[in-house]
């Protein structure tokens, strides 16, 4: 009798082990993620350690991003846009090409800056070391940070001087590659394709409105704006343009976009001086066909 029970429990354990192993394939589990608690981050001279951030994450981040880092925190159901699912390794704000992992410094910057017009606050009140540890903790949620290297950061050439000619070229780029399809002819986020935009999880999403005075989610500087459209915003409809816009023209586009924003700027002043008017889209939308 005793022998049979021992064999039985061995079999049960074996089955349990196999079941648990198969459960964790492709899905986030605490056990699977804990294997990566040795993850590190490197930002300048700082080195962050995932294990050191467990308490900080539980105190400040778990409410939205969830204990498994999958964006399913208890607050998530009431907020829009939804919190990031770190298990995918897909990030909007990157210096790297579309479809690749961000740099540690990209995550560090997003964490510190926060994402304007979303529920992600600025975490600059935390110390630099705490934030570096949190970057490592964010990375530990996705196995991709173990198996993949971050993408190569795109080269941002030095910013040229703003001139009227550059503004005009920038506007020509906006017309030619048809940014207005989503962002609208005046950059108000009301283009013909804007109403049906959805993100990678099929949730409705709005294109940026250059007139409403909000900061870009992925930064405030001209260099940030350059990187936003050249690398694209992964997880959203915004594609990368580095294959189709030359670096010099990209700066012209940055200047043109700045002239659309309500804040006072050199670009806005020059645009006003030369009487730059928003271009019309190639044709008015056609009426719906009779079905």
């Amino acid at each position: 009798m005793r022998r049979m029970t021992w064999n039985g429990s061995l079999v049960l354990t074996a089955v349990a082990v196999v079941a648990l192993c198969s459960l964790s394939f492709g899905q986030a589990t605490k056990a699977e993620e804990d294997q990566r608690l040795g993850m590190e981050s490197h930002i300048g001279k700082l080195t962050g350690h995932a294990a050191a951030a467990q308490g900080t994450y539980r105190r400040y981040c778990v409410g939205c991003h969830g204990p498994l880092g999958d964006g399913e925190g208890e607050n998530a159901q009431w907020i829009d846009p939804k919190p990031r699912n770190f298990t995918l390794g897909i990030f909007k704000c990157r210096s790297t090409t579309t479809g690749t992992l961000p740099l540690d410094s990209d995550i560090y910057a997003s964490l510190g800056r926060g994402l304007d017009s979303s529920n992600m606050p600025s975490w600059n009140p935390l110390s630099a070391q705490e934030r570096a540890d949190l970057v490592a903790y964010v990375k530990h949620f996705s196995a991709r940070f173990v198996t993949e290297k971050p993408g190569a950061p795109i080269e941002v050439p030095p910013k040229p001087e703003v001139t009227a000619d550059r503004l005009k070229t920038g506007q020509a780029v906006y017309q030619k590659v048809e940014c207005w399809k989503c962002h609208g002819p005046t950059g108000s986020g009301n283009g013909p394709s804007a109403a049906t935009l959805t993100d990678d999880q099929n949730r409705p999403i709005a294109p940026y409105n250059f007139h409403d005075g909000t900061r870009f989610k992925c930064g405030t500087s001209d260099e940030d704006l350059y990187k936003i459209f050249m690398t694209g915003l992964d997880g959203t409809p915004m594609p990368s343009w580095s294959d189709n816009i030359k670096p010099d023209e990209a700066w012209d586009l940055v200047f043109y976009l700045r002239s659309l924003q309500p804040m006072k700027s050199k670009e806005k002043e020059i645009a006003r001086q030369i009487g730059l008017k928003p271009g019309a889209p190639s044709a008015a939308p056609a009426p719906s066909p009779q079905q």
Binding site: G99, T198, N244, S282
Partner: protein, 248 residues
């Protein structure tokens, strides 16, 4: 004399035939040029494919002035043949056969605001090209399952953009592809291992380059899912597998 000539002639012919057969079977078994052929049909009434309202983009409307566009989820020919079904070998390939990557680069084209072909099949690590022939900006946005190995990307394709060359690193049946600017544009990348084929507008397919052996062939259709069949390919004898999907 006549009889002798007759016998000699027949014997030499038989000998020639025998040697010919011997030689030919040797060549066939050495090369992996076996085939699997068949037809995929839909049993039942084909669902109505809705017309597409392209009024968001006057260029797209103009391209379809004389031939209105319809959704392409289920394309059935007059004989009940199902188009755009991907056939691939899911069991029976050796490791070498499964990882062989063809050098051809299949092309996924954006034309008249639709994807051509609607479904593109390719092997793991096989390079493919995305092209645009439209005078309107598209973005090409495949949405694989990031947790299973292939990573989503999103690239712009304005008019005149050069082809985009990419590949996928893991099997995935299938990766949905969309254009965010033109929300009706839907297609699929089907990433498999080993030889594959797609049915034509009559529902017919031929998988080539299959070494003799016993295999399981899987047929995948975007609405109706998958079906499998066991197939044997022998030297000089093609394997055959027909499939019938039931209309919903």
């Amino acid at each position: 004399m006549k009889a002798f000539c007759k016998v000699a002639g027949m014997t030499s012919m038989l000998l020639l035939l025998a040697f010919g057969l011997l030689y030919s079977t040797r060549t066939v078994s050495a090369a992996a040029d076996g085939k699997i052929t068949g037809t995929v049909k839909l049993d039942g009434a084909a669902p109505h494919m809705k017309g597409i309202d392209m009024s968001k983009d006057p260029f797209c409307v103009k391209q379809h002035e004389n031939s209105p566009a319809h959704l392409e989820n289920v394309m059935v020919g007059p004989g009940g043949g199902l188009q755009n079904v991907v056939l691939y070998i899911s069991e029976g390939l050796s490791a070498a056969e499964a990882t062989a990557t063809p050098s051809q680069e299949p092309v996924f084209d954006q034309k008249n605001c639709m994807y051509t072909p609607h479904v593109l099949a390719m092997d793991v690590n096989q390079k493919f090209k995305v092209t645009t022939n439209d005078q309107t900006t598209h973005n090409i946005h495949p949405l694989p399952n990031a947790l299973a190995g292939n990573i989503p990307w999103n690239k712009s394709q304005p008019p005149g953009a050069p082809p985009i060359e990419m590949s996928w690193k893991t099997e995935e049946v299938a990766i949905p592809v969309k254009c965010n600017i033109h929300p009706w544009m839907h297609g699929y990348f089907v990433v498999v291992k080993g030889p594959y084929a797609i049915t034509d507008d009559k529902g017919s397919y031929t998988i080539t380059g299959v070494p003799p052996g016993n295999y399981t062939v899987t047929a995948w259709q975007e609405e109706y899912g998958t079906q499998t069949a066991k197939v044997t390919v022998a030297a000089g004898k093609a394997g055959a597998a027909d499939f019938t999907f039931k209309a919903k």
